[in-house]
Symmetry: C2
Subunit: 544 residues, 2 copies
């Protein structure tokens, strides 16, 4: 009570015009209502479950807001304070997510086998989360936390000096710890499959092996063709000096035309673009702009808008704040950002929509004038002939970066290779798949932060998303014969609405990416569709 | 785990360049460290107390940040979501603040009577808070929460239609509930004294009666003199059309010259200026500007900077996040904002510093050119001759608005008057003290939100702060003979440093405003000092 007063020093002054539904001062009076309401006997087990899960959801939303603030608004000197605040909040969420009473509720509800599919999905996902959270011993959890912190430091230092040997001991510990952890969560499955499941529910190594084999076998020769006998488009005119404020205004205009709802979100600038925030009615999206690169800011903003449209259209109503309202997986989320970034923004119809906007925004840019939509389409799709860094990779190179990482990390967890083998295997496969060899490990095996944080099993979701995007867009085109005309005219509502019905509004109702894709398109993920798309597109652009 | 991943959709992309001390992704790995650390046996009761209090402090800091965000950044459509999130957080804080284990710890530590004065102050304040929080029955707490919500709605509606009868039933309930609540907290004291103590620790009605009698008896005739035979300064040239962006830039410049640290804070714009944020290293200050009124934005910004300087210089080190690091009271906080706003910014030396800045910022404003610092000083201190609204009142009228409210609310709690008497008494005293009678209750007894929220005992802190400010500034002038020259030259560091040592760095070490003032100036609050200051200043300006 006193603290809010002390911190918000003129709270009563503020109260005077606050919206009736939300008040800064209200919470201190609500404190006791909440606490007493929680003690009241639940109307039913399911209602009690909803109350617990919604509380956790609300606290997680707060954490999301803090994360956004840290990247966009927080003064530099507040980093230590913020770390303490996030840790305190995380501690509270952990207590609530692992409360024995929650486990008992879930056990009763699982036994009751609810018939409503949405309710059943909530119980399913809550039980899954409870199991993953409570499976770890205190000792294992403490070691994991320690290694996370040490791992990041060790990786940052090793990358700086391009010294893989300095990072190898940490990575060895991560491999061992991950095996131990995954066995604790589900000893009946291969450790890598349990690790994958954290990022892409229901995905297995067997399925990924099949999928990635198709992609790799088709893509390596295609990329080699592009490199050796392709005719590169001229994209030099997309480099130059483009006022970043004008870029930002243009991107905001496009995001809003795509359907980003500014009543339920914000658009800011941060060093690394991301989409986050406090919940579906408070989606915070960020972008960044480079004066010398028109496409980076533009495709970045469209990518994040794809994420944001998913977030803003997740299930509400009785499932608001419940697990089933969450996005299904990292892969599905990436499918939404990549569908807009690649299938839409890098398409010919979009180039027709975009070109006049670019020319109007930058009337003084000599390279832009006199160009055609086809020139723009080709320039936007120029392929790097020497792709060393995943985060800078284009549509055609990206999947091979992922497949390489997937092969190495899954082999590590199966003990087929050891940590010392990584630099050699990395460089060999870079040459084999992408036709380049890194000059050093900083540009090679040390380039990504993921393994330093123990995020093993994360990489595949990027490419699963890319493949799902193409398949969804194919289905959308079939469902809407005028889709390309609509895009060329800047009419994005039909596509957004199709995605809302097919994907966004489904939340986590379906248990896997494949099942969601079947419900949306009639088929599970088919890498052949993705591959055919790339062959057709780049065969034409590079005149193969 | 999954939620953070889902919400911050590209967390690993962000990790790449995060500061080593704070990382968006770190918290999910810290979850378990925190939870397990909390279960470890405490090194001592005091250490265990620190751990609990710091956790609460961290969560309260989060709530402060959410409050700032709500006023500055949050999209309109997120109000319901934010209310849920603040309520969930408040519920967690309440659980932790009223935990029986905390009570047991505090009982042992109070019995142990720690010899270190800072540690003893932490135990004292934590025990005080625990007592106030746990004193209420569930039933009383529920009724209070309900009335808070209903009260605000009823007040807003009643004010709109200027219908006191529509608000009276709620206010009657608040009076009864407050008596009941204060009896539950401390039945040995008069209810109004217990209510006062929540806002101004240790303050009593007896002491306020003495203080306010001196002020009222001196100020009513002074104000009557100003109104009837004063020569008003010309302040018309401070009205006009002043670009708000230029005003904002000027205010930021002044705030920074006063010592506001942008590494540990931000300055933004909000509808109602306030100072809040997440803690001493993350102080968020806001201002607002009106094109037609140069002084409102300027004095508002300087006022908030006074609050912010206090916040940024509260005790750190081993008392970081502990109760003793908090500001002592509402009155002391207001003394810091008002010292800068009134004793500094409305002074002659400051006018000499400010005038060239104003002339440089607004070279085209005809009224500003050719003016002297003395013109500016007089214009800034023009007194309203018809002051009806407290929040718009100037230095000279303000205390009488407060004294009127104090007399009425304390009489209500003593049952000397009843709620129905309020409009009549309000209007009569407005005429007696301020020489004006409101046209209607919206402009009179219904103008303030405080009572609708049950904030009885809050009003006096405004004027206690104003008096303390004058007394502190007097002491500072004695300690620093060059202070006025420093101010005229824009050298604010000596005053800021004097305040840091005397006030800011003391936190809540001293148990009352009076004791802090004794430690800073050798004397408790003396209303005579305040009155003499006003007589001298306005006697000269109005040529009495």
């Amino acid at each position: 009570m006193t603290w809010m007063r002390k911190k918000l020093l003129c709270p009563l002054r503020m109260l005077l015009t606050l919206r009736p539904t939300a008040s800064v001062c209200r919470p201190r009076f609500r404190v006791r209502t909440m606490a007493t309401a929680a003690a009241a006997p639940p109307a039913s087990d399911y209602a009690a479950l909803c109350e617990r899960l919604r509380e956790v959801n609300a606290l997680n939303g707060v954490s999301g807001l803090l994360g956004w603030d840290e990247q966009t608004m927080m003064p530099d000197g507040a980093a230590d304070l913020r770390a303490k605040q996030q840790a305190a909040l995380a501690g509270v969420v952990y207590e609530k997510e692992t409360a024995p009473e929650l486990g008992q509720l879930l056990a009763r509800l699982q036994a009751a086998a609810l018939s409503d599919p949405w309710q059943a999905a909530n119980v399913r996902d809550a039980a899954r989360n409870y199991k993953r959270k409570t499976a770890l011993s205190k000792d294992l959890a403490q070691r994991e936390a320690r290694l996370s912190s040490e791992g990041y430091q060790a990786w940052a230092k090793a990358r700086k000096s391009s010294d893989f040997a300095a990072f190898a001991p940490v990575l060895r510990q991560w491999v061992d710890l991950t095996k131990e952890k995954m066995a604790a969560i589900d000893a009946s499955k291969a450790p890598y499959d349990v690790a994958l499941d954290a990022f892409e529910r229901g995905m297995t190594s067997n399925r990924l092996d099949e999928i990635f084999k198709v992609v790799r076998d088709g893509l390596v020769p295609l990329l080699a063709d592009v490199r050796t006998r392709g005719t590169p488009p001229d994209d030099s005119w997309l480099k130059g000096d483009f006022d970043v404020d004008k870029q930002a205004a243009l991107c905001k205009e496009i995001a809003v035309e795509m359907g980003f709802n500014l009543t339920h979100g914000r658009l800011d600038v941060s060093i690394h673009p991301f989409t986050g925030g406090a919940g579906p009615t408070d989606v915070r999206m960020t972008t960044r702009f480079k004066a010398n690169d028109l496409m980076e800011g533009l495709t970045g903003a469209i990518h994040e808008t794809g994420h944001a449209l998913y977030e803003q259209a997740r299930p509400a109503g009785e499932n608001d704040g419940m697990p089933v309202s969450e996005a299904l997986s990292m892969g599905v989320h990436e499918s939404q950002s990549l569908l807009w970034e690649r299938c839409v923004a890098l398409s010919r119809p979009f180039a027709a929509y975009l070109l006049p906007k670019l020319q109007a925004a930058f009337p003084d840019a000599p390279g832009l004038q006199g160009k055609t939509a086809d020139d723009l389409y080709r320039a936007m799709n120029a392929v790097s002939l020497r792709s060393l860094i995943r985060v800078e990779a284009d549509e055609l190179n990206y999947p091979l970066h992922i497949i390489l990482r997937y092969e190495l990390e899954s082999s590590l967890l199966r003990s087929d290779i050891s940590v010392e083998d990584l630099p050699r295997l990395w460089n060999a496969r870079m040459q084999e798949y992408l036709g380049v060899t890194p000059d050093n490990d900083a540009q090679g095996v040390l380039q990504d932060v993921h393994w330093s944080a123990g995020a093993i099993g994360y990489f595949p979701t990027y490419s699963l998303g890319a493949m799902m995007a193409v398949q969804l867009f194919d289905a959308a085109k079939k469902a809407m014969p005028n889709l390309e005309d609509d895009i060329a005219a800047g009419r994005f509502a039909p596509l957004r609405e199709w995605l809302r019905v097919a994907i966004h509004s489904k939340g986590s109702l379906h248990p896997t990416l494949d099942e969601l894709l079947i419900s949306a398109t009639g088929e599970p993920l088919r890498p052949e569709v993705f591959l055919a798309f790339l062959k057709r597109k780049y065969g034409e652009i590079y005149k193969l």
